[in-house]
């Protein structure tokens, strides 16, 4: 099947010459569609303690890409406390104080192998200050709205474009992959969890991986590597975006 898609450059750039990362959007690569989102307050028992609380049931049938971040409350928050499987997302962690979290689920399976091709890696210089792009308003929102939150996609803002994603199953060890972006890309990473009561990994269950004393994520101009300091080796997954880490994207 031929590709008759569209591409939209970021403001001030010519869509004909803009490099891949200078695009606001391209039908060449997937974005992250938001399935559900919200805020939740996790209340701790008197004196603090370990809390498990369901956040949202999605029933997508796969563990979706997700983000859970602290908004306020308990001063320390570990992304590893955010959990997700093929039915729901939930919180599991030790708190001293109540904490308010923002959560978001995307319509994309964590276990997705994808490697989008590069189209143009040579940056263009800004030559065009006009914006001739597109507006796609959300359902039941006016395309004339002045609130940018009322739009799914706008050409005067950029979108997170997925460059690559990959995963490994349990007992493989660390995950290593190459990419062809030529810059250090922004990423999200996920790891599975070994349930010592079960004596096995929880099936299709992931936590947000963040660097701490037990995990290390390395990204370079051409590789990504996730290592966990200890056995058993969990499932691991990552997503790379067409956004640079080192300088303005």
């Amino acid at each position: 099947m031929s590709d008759y898609g569209i591409k939209v450059s970021r403001t001030g750039l010519d869509a004909n010459t803009a490099s891949d990362k200078q695009l606001a959007f391209s039908s060449e690569w997937p974005l992250l569609p938001i399935e559900a989102e919200g805020q939740v307050t996790i209340t701790v028992p008197s004196g603090g303690g370990y809390v498990t609380q369901d956040i949202f049931t999605h029933n997508l049938g796969y563990a979706p890409v997700f983000i859970i971040d602290r908004i306020s409350g308990n001063p320390f928050y570990f992304p590893l406390w955010g959990w997700c499987n093929d039915e729901k997302i939930w919180f599991e962690g030790a708190l001293d104080e109540s904490i308010t979290l923002r959560w978001r689920i995307f319509r994309r399976a964590i276990e997705t192998k994808y490697d989008g091709k590069n189209v143009n890696v040579i940056d263009s210089t800004k030559t065009d200050d006009s914006d001739y792009g597109i507006l796609v308003s959300l359902p039941n929102k006016s395309v004339y709205s002045n609130d940018k939150r009322d739009f799914g996609v706008r050409s005067d803002v950029r979108q997170l474009m997925v460059a690559k994603s990959d995963y490994i199953l349990e007992d493989v060890g660390g995950i290593e992959g190459t990419h062809h972006l030529g810059y250090k890309p922004m990423y999200l990473a996920y790891i599975g969890y070994y349930d010592y009561n079960l004596g096995d990994f929880l099936p299709n269950t992931y936590r947000m991986a963040s660097e701490a004393s037990d995990i290390r994520v390395l990204v370079t101009e051409s590789t990504i590597k996730i290592m966990l300091y200890g056995y058993p080796w969990p499932p691991m997954a990552y997503i790379l975006f067409r956004d640079t880490l080192k300088a303005d994207g």
Binding site: E35, F56, R102, L245
Partner: protein, 153 residues
């Protein structure tokens, strides 16, 4: 809020290469008007290097402030660049900590007008301010931050 997607919305769809737009699932679409997406304004994305103070008091220390003035608390992605290679990390997503017991973290505090990158320190050992004598890897060291403020709240 909870579920916000409208899967049967048919106003505007663009499928990914290799998929027929008339039958593509949302996962197979590059763009689907029934879904919202993370969005970033050009002026609310950047990379900046800061040098931590040589003596850091207990509590929340703001190391970088980004004004967005959205009037609501936006979402974000922020990454920490360990420029001086003091810690066993390359580019960690915030929040980030390494210590055991945990007595410090780099984190993000977002308000309706500002995004603040904060270094939070608790004087667990009773040493007073954090200084290189007790914490050689943070006070006086350089760190870079890649920050991205989303339009989405």
């Amino acid at each position: 809020m909870a579920k916000i997607s409208v899967e049967n919305d048919k106003i505007f769809r663009v499928s990914l290469p290799g998929y027929d737009v008339s039958t593509a699932t949302p996962e197979q679409c590059a763009l689907h008007s029934g879904f919202d997406y993370p969005k970033i304004e050009e002026h609310l994305e950047g990379y900046e290097v800061i040098t931590m103070p040589s003596s850091i008091p207990e509590g929340a220390n703001t190391v970088l402030t980004i004004n967005h003035n959205y009037g609501y608390v936006p979402s974000w992605l922020v990454y920490l660049d360990d420029i001086d290679n003091n810690m066993n990390t390359e580019f960690a997503r915030l929040p980030f900590t390494q210590a055991v017991p945990v007595d410090w973290e780099f984190r993000v505090d977002s308000t309706t007008t500002q995004l603040k990158i904060v270094f939070y320190y608790v004087d667990t050992w009773g040493v007073g301010n954090m200084t290189p004598a007790d914490y050689p890897n943070i006070p006086g060291k350089r760190f870079g931050f890649k920050w991205q403020v989303w339009v989405n709240d």
